[in-house]
């Protein structure tokens, strides 16, 4: 029981939710799966007077392909993502990230939009979406705006979302031939594990086996899930081979030492970051074809 909640609304259309957001402003909070919000309310970290439920809105639950772009509605659940046919081949990293979250009970309720808007540094969906250069489509009464996900995430549990705005969906381009995306997560146990460290890596290569496009994103390696721009620049244009992977792993370690200086997790993360990088890279190169034994054999 939460005695602070005075009014609740179950909405079935986004317009309805937007109108309510406009009316109640900061007194209101959107609730979808509720798997984070209800705990935050219980701990007294947030105490909204008004709850606006969007978990029954159908239009934002869809996952679909539109003109070479993939769109994931903000109230699509992780169960929907992990079982969707769009994510069973080249984009399996997305399904894998969704599957690594919580328990079946949590995945049946928790939504992609909730994971993004709560903006935990350890949010599991963020690294793969950042590595795919996803865009966030935000709506408010009467208008919409589109911003890169990396700009949407402004800090620890901070986003660019205005009080009368909601995240409608995210979208990203399908990945071309000669490219791949991988995801790796370290948690303390298989089920229910909150990421201690995660990484997603998108890489594209040319006919000579050189890295012609690279996007790396990390989770729980700083105050927010973020792009690893320096590491991307380090790899860009270079020949993809074992030597480069070793050099990049060392580069990442150096970066982590700088970023996490003084933190108790540093002795663990400086090594772990190399492991998740290698695993994500390996998976990105091999793609869904498990016959390829060694990542760079594909080149």
């Amino acid at each position: 029981m939460n005695p602070l909640i005075q009014e609740v609304y179950q909405t079935h259309h986004i317009e309805e939710a937007l109108e309510l957001l406009k009316r109640f402003g900061e007194r209101a909070k959107l609730i979808a799966g509720g798997t984070d919000l209800i705990i935050q309310m219980r701990e007294g970290r947030v105490s909204p007077a008004v709850l606006i439920d969007i978990s029954s809105v159908e239009e934002t639950r869809e996952i679909k392909e539109v003109d070479q772009m993939i769109e994931i509605g903000s109230t699509a659940t992780f169960t929907q993502v992990e079982t969707h046919s769009l994510f069973d081949r080249e984009l399996t990293a997305i399904a894998q990230a969704a599957r690594s979250i919580g328990s079946p009970q949590i995945r049946n309720r928790a939504t992609v939009g909730g994971n993004i808007c709560n903006a935990s540094p350890a949010a599991d969906m963020l690294p793969p979406l950042l590595a795919l250069d996803a865009l966030a489509v935000l709506k408010r009464d009467g208008c919409a705006r589109v911003i890169p996900l990396s700009d949407f995430l402004t800090g620890k549990e901070q986003t660019a979302l205005e009080t009368d705005e909601l995240l409608d969906r995210i979208r990203f381009r399908k990945i071309p031939d000669k490219s791949g995306i991988g995801f790796s997560k370290l948690g303390v146990r298989n089920a229910l594990a909150i990421a201690r460290l995660s990484m997603a890596l998108y890489v594209a290569w040319d006919h000579e086996g050189c890295c012609c496009d690279i996007r790396i994103a990390s989770g729980a390696l700083g105050i927010k899930a973020q792009r690893e721009w320096e590491t991307e620049n380090f790899m860009a244009g270079k020949k993809l081979n074992d030597a480069l992977i070793d050099e990049t792993a060392a580069f990442l370690e150096e970066n982590t030492v700088k970023r996490l200086a003084g933190r108790s997790t540093l002795p663990f993360k400086r090594h772990a970051v190399q492991g998740v990088f290698r695993e994500a890279f390996d998976q990105a190169m091999r793609g869904p074809d498990r016959r390829i034994k060694h990542a760079t054999d594909i080149l």
Partner: protein, 169 residues
Amino acid sequence: MRQTSFKVNGETHTVEIQEGMRLLDLLRNTLQLTGTKEGCGEGECGACTVIMDGQIVNSCLVMAFQAEGKEILTIEGLDLEDGTLHPIQQAFLDEGAVQCGFCTPGMVLSAKALLDHNPHPTNEEIREAISGNLCRCTGYNKIVEAIGEAAKAMTKGEKDRGTAHRGAK
């Protein structure tokens, strides 16, 4: 207070709820369906698991008003009217998968949701399906065995019923 309508165990209910109530409070306190347990209250232990619109959810992480229009199955809705246990419940007893019993309602419902979608699960799939339900007594092996046995019994039951039906023709 506000009114809300939903189905629990096949029966439609329209009740007054408080805005800040969770589905778990509604089931236990308003409807007196105390088979659904509260363990951690934060979605870790799965003792409060119920099936909502065909999927297992932690009822401690669903607000009561969010259940408007939904169909909910709790442990009380599983056995037949004459008191015959559901094959999963029977298998839990037969295999010794119940010790203190606190996790059992949630565990049985997670098993039911699994077997509804996947009648022939592997042990791995069973373990994954109950990964959101903690048990501090059994060590899980007997639970996994019970769910495997329930799957067999349910498949056999269907076959028998199919034969009976054909025979009646």
